[in-house]
Amino acid sequence: MKLVRMLVLTAGVVLAVSGAVPLLKRILADSKPSVQLNVKNAQPREVEEVTQNAILRDYTLAWQGIGTALANNTLQPLNENFSGFALDRLVQRVKDQKQNGLSTRLIDRGHKVEAVFYSPDGSAVELKDTASIETQVLDGGTVIHSDQAQIQYYAVMTGAEDRWKVRVLESSAR
């Protein structure tokens, strides 16, 4: 009888864990990436503290948005944080992924970001981002590619109504 109870208990625990793990993974997947921003070398204008905080917040959200959009092939997270060329490009990527049955899981291990340009009128900022990212491409549920690398990104953010949005996002081999 005791054995039966133990078995039932074990089965329950296994069930609970198996249910909780994907949930936990999802929570982790949706969590914000860690971003460090350095604005000391921004030219020609000095970045104000308020702007620095806003950029840090919105660039972090932008990467969170990319992760969610590419993993789930949804456009909503992109519309909130991207505009212009970057938005067009990512939207196309999501649409193409969806059409081909692919998705991309980005495991974001952090960004070291430096503001290299802040326009004199305060409307645009260029960021140089060294990102540690593990990229997994999935065909249905199967991982068909996985790599981990440090990638250099250049991002141009411009001020929108209530936030900064990424207008250009380009990776470079430099």
Partner: protein, 362 residues
């Protein structure tokens, strides 16, 4: 038994209706001067013009149409956007045949509550008190041609497409010229002046955020209608921001917020402010009085007068405003009056009046 009960209940019902109805009647003959004024305005409030006019003395020399226009307004003025809310009366002087009744009329207008205090003469006619209505002189602007060099700014904005980098017209440069925070009537008031320094018209809003000693924002208010929102090039407007119930000692700092927008605007109408002087009104309160003169050829429906009062150091010590309940007809002077706090009157060295306006689209 049943029939008696039926009669009792029928009588009871009719009695209750009678009590309720007689109690609310307002068309009785006025037995007091105050009663006449109250009854006249009571009927006017209920739009019973015949009833109201029946309390007007025949010696008033006003026909019913003119009387109604006096009460309901003309030319799209603020009075035409008003409903009478309440009437307070007080007899200043009374004899057997004549009395003077101070009447404070409270109106609900399209821009807020408005008060109008008048000393009405009440006379006894045929044994009943009647109001000698001071008929307003109806102004008729003579036919004429007023040449206008029509000057306005139109704006062509950037297209709707997201053409980043494409040039857009810049918002104007404006500047808050001064800011003075004072505590009055248990609240904090922030006032000062703002100027459009640019060569294009500006639409401005000015607000303030108060921060307490812990650095936390405690209140946020805007100048609302205590400012002229459209400023032409080099135009200066006063502003006043009220924070009711906040003490100056509880505030560590004030953060001014503003927004300057480029808007299409017209340079007309030009409204002159003539013969400004500080004096006492009939209630003994200090007011700034004068006349408004619409120098353009179109009617200004609702003028809004903003007065800035300065001390001898040129500091803004008070900003007050008033809406005129009469429209400004072209080339026709119209009196105005703006309240000034009695306790500040002695400190006022100079003042400046600007006129904001609303004109109905035709």
């Amino acid at each position: 038994m049943g029939r008696i009960l039926a009669v009792i209940f029928a009588v009871l019902t009719v009695g209750l209706i009678a009590i309720g109805t007689v109690h609310g009647s307002r068309n009785a003959q006025a037995s007091t001067p105050e009663g006449a004024v109250q009854a006249m305005f009571g009927n006017a409030k209920g739009h019973d013009w015949n009833g109201a006019y029946s309390y007007v003395a025949s010696s008033s020399n006003v026909d019913q149409g003119g009387f109604i226009r006096d009460l309901t307004g003309r030319n799209g003025s603020l009075r035409t956007y008003s409903q009478l809310d309440s009437v307070n009366t007080r007899v200043l002087h009374e004899s057997d045949t004549e009395a003077t009744v101070r009447t404070e009329l409270k109106y609900a207008t399209a821009v807020g509550v408005s008060f109008d205090t008048r000393d009405l003469k009440v006379v006894k006619e045929d044994g009943a008190w009647k109001v000698q209505w001071p008929a307003e002189k109806e102004v008729h602007v003579p036919p004429q041609v007023i040449p206008v060099n029509y000057l306005r700014w139109d704006i062509v904005w950037r297209g709707a497409g997201d053409d980043w980098g494409a040039q857009n017209v810049e918002n104007p440069n404006c500047r808050i010229l001064s800011m003075n925070a004072v505590e009055r009537d248990g609240g904090l008031i922030i006032m000062g002046e703002v100027e459009n320094e640019d060569t294009v018209p500006a639409f401005i809003t000015v607000g303030a955020v108060l921060t307490d000693n812990a650095g936390k924002d405690v209140a946020e208010e805007s100048s609302f209608d205590k400012i002229s929102h459209v400023l032409l090039p080099k135009e200066v407007s006063p502003y006043r921001i009220d924070f009711p119930g906040i003490k100056k000692s509880d505030v560590k700092s004030v953060r001014m917020t503003h927004d300057w927008m480029l808007v299409p605007a017209s340079a007309d109408p030009v409204i002159g402010v003539l013969h400004q002087r500080i004096e006492k009104d009939i209630t003994g309160r200090t007011v700034l009085k004068g006349e408004l003169l619409n120098e353009s050829g179109t009617t200004v429906n609702i003028p809004h007068v903003l007065a800035t009062f300065y001390d001898n150091g040129g500091k803004v010590i008070w900003v007050s405003d008033a809406y005129s309940d009469h429209a400004l007809l072209p080339q026709t002077p119209q009196p105005f009056s703006v309240a000034l706090r009695d306790d500040l009157a002695a400190n006022v060295h100079t003042y400046r009046v600007t006129v904001n306006h609303y004109s109905r689209e035709n």
